[in-house]
Symmetry: C2
Subunit: 510 residues, 2 copies
């Protein structure tokens, strides 16, 4: 050991110990969260939320403690940083950034907020079930107020909303998003218009009916196994709002919801969360137990769920391989339908009210609406009470339809009840990342779709592991996309992909 190394050895050891403890507490908190969403008895939620709040606050305290500050000050000195191994260095840098951000929040304020959002999510579930926005609005207003306070404490960069965006996609700004979304709008709205003008929509009659929920579960599980989801390192459960949570690479849990009258909702929900899960299950073992053992950003995470859900799961090659299995799972219900017809049926483009059920094309319009509303809340002072009217007006304007109730309008998403403002743009960023990555995959392997049609999903998973999954948080989003594709993020790949796909399905220009 050199002289320099010896001088910080004790600090490094203590830093590793402390970050490990923080990661362990985060793992426990995520397990408790999963439990509250999947099956914890109703009457225990209030006390559990308080316990969750206390441990969250303690985790927060550990990462903002004077001890952590001292350790970080020492370890981020340029000569020390240069002498650290790659994992320790990245950890020190990441913690330093979080430390600078988090120490600005009073711990008690943070604890109150965690308890509030934990209770708000249950209140949201109830409000959604009863179409009772007024029952949820007081929670939402409080959550917004807390976030406004946080933004002030953190310090505004660009606009207040930029401060929130940076949490989910480091470096992302309102102006950058305005540009990217502007480009998307310019090409995707005409495409949607051309499809609407075309008139003849693919047959979807065979998707109507009642599909046994037990069979739906079996088929979701089968497809997840085909994707390479490891059931010894994860599980599939049910919740009102589907989610994925990586507790550790050895325990990644996803949820879905089964609708008896909808064959595709649970199926594509499972594939979507399965994409998140493949990411978390395949992070390099040497990162396990460290805070770097997680996805590098929400945008990159969503790129993987959406790549698997849409670019694989809604592709013709995929259904050439798996449609016969689906027919077997629902005997008599899909007779006389071909894989090609099924493919066209699950890719119908149609303005709709529910984001998670939207097609790949109009999905981005749902995201733009949420993005604009979030900007209005934090940059222009929009209140919780005003939300339903703004929501409905924007749906009318962008999609030409209006929700019949708040349950299928402003109450449809869980995100705001958990305080996740700034998260929604990640979905469209994910679509853009995914298209750019998939474009590269096809350039490297022109017969990729034929290989998928033969059921060969493993090579794709392995290539994504190599380029994305195994790195965890060791690479930034921009490093991930540039190292794989040789370019920064561009909107054109998504537009190209959607135009090619839908021109073929809708026979545009024929």
């Amino acid at each position: 050991m050199g002289e320099l190394q010896a001088s910080f050895a004790a600090e490094l050891e203590r830093f590793r110990e402390l970050t490990r403890q923080i990661k362990q507490y985060e793992e426990i908190l995520a397990t408790i969260y999963w439990d509250m969403r999947t099956g914890a008895p109703r009457k225990g939620i209030e006390l559990r939320s308080e316990a969750y709040g206390t441990l969250s606050a303690e985790t927060f305290r550990l990462s903002t403690s004077p001890e952590m500050g001292d350790l970080l000050e020492r370890l981020t000195q340029p000569d020390v940083l240069a002498a650290l191994g790659a994992v320790d260095r990245k950890q020190a840098e990441e913690f330093h950034k979080d430390y600078e951000r988090n120490r600005k929040l009073p711990p008690e304020l943070y604890r109150e907020y965690v308890v509030l959002t934990s209770q708000a999510e249950s209140a949201w579930e109830e409000a959604k079930a009863n179409n009772d926005y007024p029952g949820f609005a007081p929670y939402l207003e409080k959550i917004i107020e807390y976030n406004r306070k946080f933004i002030e404490l953190w310090g505004i960069k660009g606009s207040p909303y930029d401060t929130l965006l940076d949490m989910y996609e480091p470096g992302m700004t309102t102006s950058e998003l305005d540009r990217l979304f502007g480009e998307l709008r310019k090409r995707l709205v005409p495409l949607a218009d051309a499809i609407a003008a075309r008139g003849d929509k693919p047959d979807t009659a065979f998707l109507q009916g009642t599909f046994d929920v037990v069979s739906q579960k079996s088929f979701s599980k089968f497809i997840l196994q085909q994707m390479g989801f490891d059931f010894d390192a994860g599980r599939l459960d049910e919740s009102v709002h589907p989610f994925a949570t990586g507790l550790s690479p050895g325990d990644v849990r996803i949820t879905t919801r089964y609708l008896p009258h909808d064959l595709t909702s649970a199926l594509f929900g499972s594939i979507h969360e399965g994409g998140h899960a493949l990411y978390e299950q395949n992070i390099a073992p040497e990162l396990a137990g460290t805070p770097l053992c997680t996805g590098t950003s929400m945008g990159i995470h969503e790129s993987q769920s959406r790549l698997w859900e849409n670019m694989v799961g809604r592709s013709l090659g995929f259904w050439k391989r798996y449609f016969p299995d689906l027919q077997k799972q629902f005997p008599g219900q899909l007779d006389g339908v071909t894989a090609e017809q099924f493919y066209r049926g699950i890719n119908v483009v149609e303005p709709s009210l529910i984001r998670i059920e939207a097609d790949e094309l109009t999905y981005n319009l749902h995201i733009m609406i949420r993005y604009e509303i979030e900007k209005m809340i934090f940059n222009d002072g929009l209140t919780a009470a005003e939300l339903p009217a703004v929501w409905n007006a924007k749906y009318k304007e962008a999609l030409g339809i209006e929700p019949g109730s708040d349950a299928e309008g402003v109450l449809q998403d869980v995100h705001w009840s958990g305080g996740s403002f700034g998260y929604f743009p990640s979905y469209s960023l994910g679509n853009m990342y995914a298209a750019q990555i998939m474009n590269k995959a096809k350039a490297l392997r022109p017969d990729l779709e034929e290989r998928i049609a033969d059921g060969e999903l493993a090579p794709l998973k392995e290539w994504l592991t190599e380029g994305v999954y195994r790195h965890g948080k060791m690479k930034n989003p921009s490093e991930i996309i540039e190292d794989i594709t040789g370019e920064p993020l561009k909107s054109s790949y998504l537009c190209d992909y959607l135009e090619r796909k839908y021109r073929e399905i809708y026979r545009l220009g024929e």
Copy 2:
């Protein structure tokens, strides 16, 4: 506020805050434990165990910290103690006792032990499944060594084993147990012998067969609802070894295991754990969130599981009411059987190898064997390697039969893998408490069995809530039994009950 009150107000507030945090961490730990036992993916167990160990150690640290010591020193001064409210006073006394005990253990030693037992339980599950005692023995030997160290650090009272007993049944000693078990043996062994001599055992042919597991689940759930188990404040799941855990009165979780060829195992397992659950669900709301919100001792806890399982669930009145429902649940499988025949069939007395499947009478012999082995381990230096031979010899001696494999011998119980030495006697203590309490219930309400035959279980539950459940840890075991029955614990009520029951079933003396 008086002058004295004012002088300790700050300490009291901090004490309440700290004990609340400890209770919250315990609630989280119990949820994680439940998760690891009911469905956590195999590959995540190792990291989860470590996280569990870290939070356990922190909880332990909080309850043994110098701050806690200072608070307790102040609050347990006689004049202060006398000025506290009942709940605060009891909490201060209980914590003081635990503090004196726990501060003798080095925190690092304790953390190692928690991680060890957490991993050992998974190792035990595997060893039991593969009949691989040598695979489990190294864990067991280490757990024994830690406990020997703990006993030394805590200080030996009477014998080393007494030190462990006191943890589960405060005040209980080897000499007291030797006396109680001696009395039981004196009356129960002749009873078992008389039954064996009688020869003609009740018909059990109708218990053979394959009983649909889904129907078993439905029926278990139905019976739990009848008992008053609140499914909005609890859940029923599956695990290798059934258990109950009260996370809070609003979230009490029980597990059972369903065997397709055994109708009664899951059913009586569910009623047993349901008895534990009724206790935890009905603790007074004002104790919720405090460390007093739990059963007062393992013996009293077991008295409630065994009262419901045996004295209610294996009574003739109970089956007069519910046997027709059972018949409906398994159409065609129990035709031509009467409630009385079923009652006699589920009360067959027969020496058997598996404790949790034993009849009410020989069950106590299973407990005595474990009690004797535990005494040998801690008072006479018996090693893990020697356990299987001793186990088998004792079964041969006491029950006349020998396990064909370790899986149905020394590996059958989860307790030792979790380090719960000194727990087993609680089961027979529970039987004795239960018989004494039930004797009083029948004295107060001579038509109790007829009321149960009418499906009226609520009055019994309410009476037990009044006498036992609502008090949580506010009363000691001896206060509970004396306040209800006017007497200290006696072995004679259990002997009277068993003699009466089995003389009738086996028509002894006729």
